[in-house]
Symmetry: C2
Subunit: 331 residues, 2 copies
């Protein structure tokens, strides 16, 4: 079923007011959840919302905590998220990085002690909407085996890179696992095999069977050993810059996943002069990519599908899982 | 066969003097090529050297050109590589980014109109040796099909992330293709299949046969659609920041691969206060990773193998391909 974006937002807003958020913070928090569903990522929108509320009830997420600036030097700042609301902390951090970029050309905010940021892409769109390049990533609970090991000890550490473009921002938002557990479940429920190998089965063989990977808990990093290495360095950089926790210090229980470290970088090309060249470069790359398609294939730039989904869902309503929608309305 | 590191360096140095480099630039350029072979990456060291000399002779690489600063704002600077020597331009850019990081907390140098930087890892080690986090990437000629298309239109855009660590820096240096053409050739010559699918054959089927991928020219990006998207955004950010060329504007002829765009970011955590916490965080992550290994497996952090290879090659001599070594000595 589909519900109007405004209705989705308002229902989330009311729940957040009920659990105690101030109006302005409830509105922004609701918008970030609603935007995620609107853009075709319900796993990090409406579907994540019940767990988020549960984590408030459990005291894992502290709704009254505001991020506090720690050490800072020029364009580099360290903030303490104080176990506050993950998407609000992240939004604040990108906003601060954007301000630093306006002043210094680029800015970096490292955030410690924060919570799940929901959909990372939100903060990429935020940067691009502000006219700057955004790069951000988060560490996570251990949910991925490093290459060569059977147990989940590294995170899927989603990374976002966004570039403003007048005709539609380019926004890459990807976790470092080839398939999320949510994606594996979707394939399994549809009775489909994965399009490519997504992990190992319990015998250590690569497989396209989603259920076999759910059973082994051995999903693949992107690029096998390469994504494993990338996960390790992103965790290390985030923990060091933030002075915060690394993945190995985060609970493996999703409802207790807290104390995360995140990095937000903004780069403001317009501080170097006029930005028409940058716009032309983006346009030419997109045009070239579209021209690559042969015989009916469409080659899309990162974020292109998001924009199509957004337009459709704003026009026709945002798809919601009826059971989850009912549950959230009852909160 | 193996030759002493110093001998390798000196032979390269003499060739560079002969083609006209000043002593200090010849020494640094020779060191960067020699370091690559020393660290176990001969494809970007000695084996790349003959093509580099050929590109000087062809006038593609201008040995007299020095990078020139263009627009700059605070911690963000744009430099014109003026089609000079790729590894010297890159080394200069990372040096400048490190200086900016000392001043502003972090710094970013975007370099346009440059040439192949050889082994990107060199500039990661450079940053880590200077005690700062280094992140850099380059675009390349089109050598990889975007996901969903049969023709090479995007680059394998190597990216480097390095973190200083007193007991051995963590340095990730990876191209966004699952296997380089050099790696495919090595597997083929050894008569081996790839450990995982590395591309499509001419019929569009995924294959582990290196020769089939060499024939189709359809290697895989890491993580299939994910690495394809990452390649696109890295190219876009590099071209925009540098005000330079994107992959689609670079010649597909390797000997004419010039006018590249690169980005060098340095982040100096020590500007936030004392760095013992950062060292502790790195140590704990490495220890945890090592403890992940079960039953004889060794889980390594990125760069760990490099350091082992370096120690061995400094002690026993650097392996060289005899035919290439003879050829370079005859230059």
């Amino acid at each position: 079923m589909r519900v109007a974006y405004q209705e989705l937002h308002d229902v989330l807003f009311q729940v957040l007011r009920k659990v105690g958020l101030e109006p302005d913070r409830a509105a922004l928090c609701a918008r970030l959840f609603a935007d995620s569903s609107r853009d075709g990522v319900p796993s990090h929108g409406l579907n994540l919302f019940p767990r988020f509320v549960r984590m408030i009830e459990l005291g894992v997420v502290d709704i009254s905590a505001r991020p506090a600036r720690g050490a800072a030097h020029g364009a580099l700042e360290r903030w303490d998220g104080r176990r506050g609301i993950g998407n609000l902390n992240a939004h604040h951090s990108m906003e601060r990085a954007i301000a630093l970029a306006g002043e210094h050309g680029l800015g970096c905010v490292a955030l410690a002690n924060t919570n799940h940021w929901g959909r990372g892409g939100n903060f990429g769109w935020q940067a691009a909407d502000a006219g700057v390049i955004g790069i951000c990533w988060t560490n996570t609970l251990p949910n991925l085996p490093p290459w060569g090991a059977p147990e989940a000890r590294i995170g899927n550490n989603p990374i976002v890179v966004s570039v403003p473009r007048p005709r539609g921002h380019v926004v890459l938002d990807m976790a470092l696992s080839q398939f999320s557990y949510g994606a594996l479940a979707s394939y399994r429920m549809r009775g489909e095999l994965l399009p490519v190998a997504g992990g190992f089965d319990v015998h250590g063989e690569l497989t396209r069977d989603p259920a076999a990977i759910e059973a082994s808990r051995r999903p693949l990093p992107i690029g096998f050993w390469k994504g494993s290495g990338l996960s390790i360095v992103l965790d290390l950089v985030a923990a060091q810059l933030a002075g915060g926790r690394a993945t190995h210090q985060v609970s493996t229980d999703a409802e207790q996943e807290t104390g995360l470290s995140q990095v937000f970088v903004a780069i403001d090309v317009s501080t170097l002069g006029e930005s028409r060249d940058a716009d032309r470069i983006a346009e030419e790359i997109v045009e070239h990519l579209h021209a690559t398609a042969t015989s009916g294939d469409t080659i899309r730039y990162p974020g292109e599908r998001t924009l199509e989904t957004r337009r459709r869902n704003l026009a026709e309503g945002v798809p919601v899982e009826p059971s989850i929608w009912d549950r959230v309305r009852g909160l």
